[in-house]
Symmetry: C2
Subunit: 170 residues, 2 copies
């Protein structure tokens, strides 16, 4: 199911998908953000088979997205909590929810709204900004090799048409 040559792709999306790309996994994370911690809660709310849930939770723990914590001091049973690495996926989950709301649920409206807890106000649509706060449209974007780019990635990015057009103009 998932791409095998992930390292070769030299791509953080590919590495990220290797952890969270599988359908159930993001729904498990959604449940974690909704406050589920115990195996039974994930199982009940998602209606997921126990063996699949076990595999996914193990992978999320091995990857550092979730961490096992005893349900109380000295207890043998564990619950699953988001690590900072896991909490950092909130922006992806909200963005994906809003995209689904915009394009897949336009008539009945959003099933769930994300709000600021302190004020109860809905959060803004997740968007792309420059560092000085200007909102960017997808077509205003380009890519360039980062510090971790391999020679192959650098060669690949040179083939991008928009970058070529930009170079010709200058």
């Amino acid at each position: 199911m998932s791409p095998k040559n992930i390292d070769k792709l030299n791509c953080s999306i590919a590495s990220a998908l290797d952890i969270i790309g599988e359908g159930w996994t993001i729904l498990i994370l959604r449940e974690a953000f909704f406050g589920s911690r115990r195996f039974e809660d994930f199982q009940k709310h998602l209606g997921i088979a126990r063996n699949i849930l076990t595999v996914r939770l193990n992978k999320l723990c091995d990857s550092g997205v979730l961490v096992r914590v005893p349900i109380k001091v000295g207890a043998k049973r564990n619950e699953y909590r988001l690590t900072p690495m896991g909490s950092d996926l909130a922006v992806i989950l909200i963005g994906l929810t809003q995209w689904g709301d915009r394009w897949l649920n336009p008539t009945q409206g959003a099933p769930v709204t994300f709000i600021e807890r302190a004020t109860g106000k809905a959060v803004a649509d997740i968007a792309i900004f420059t560092r000085d706060g200007k909102k960017l449209k997808p077509r205003e974007l380009a890519v360039k090799p980062g510090p971790g780019a391999t020679a192959e990635t650098i060669a690949r990015l040179k083939l991008i048409p928009d970058v070529r057009r930009k170079k010709k103009k200058n």
Copy 2:
């Protein structure tokens, strides 16, 4: 592989994942954002099997994320272009890339940097903001039922511990 009771989940993430959750699919979208349009380009840059690529491209077209356009006027062969619905996924792809950069590639650095084409400056990290521009941390967030929430979703969201705590405080 993917959850079967998607409608029952009343969740835009689940609906979104039904389209773009599969590992290869987001990498195909990445290629589309990099400027690939022709079947051969996707195939070459991703090293994906032709039969899998065909299935994924068909699904993305059926879903409205990509559209087939003749390679030139009157040509029988088509290329694949992002629709506005597809371009609207840029924020997800960038967010996912940045998350991978932060947590999975911390030492060698980002393989690819997203920049504003006009200025060449790197875009800011994708983040969660209130509508009046205040940046929010994941723990400052809560959820409430939206206009499209089913009775089941409303009942589910009532079970969220953070919301309960908030209610008690008020």
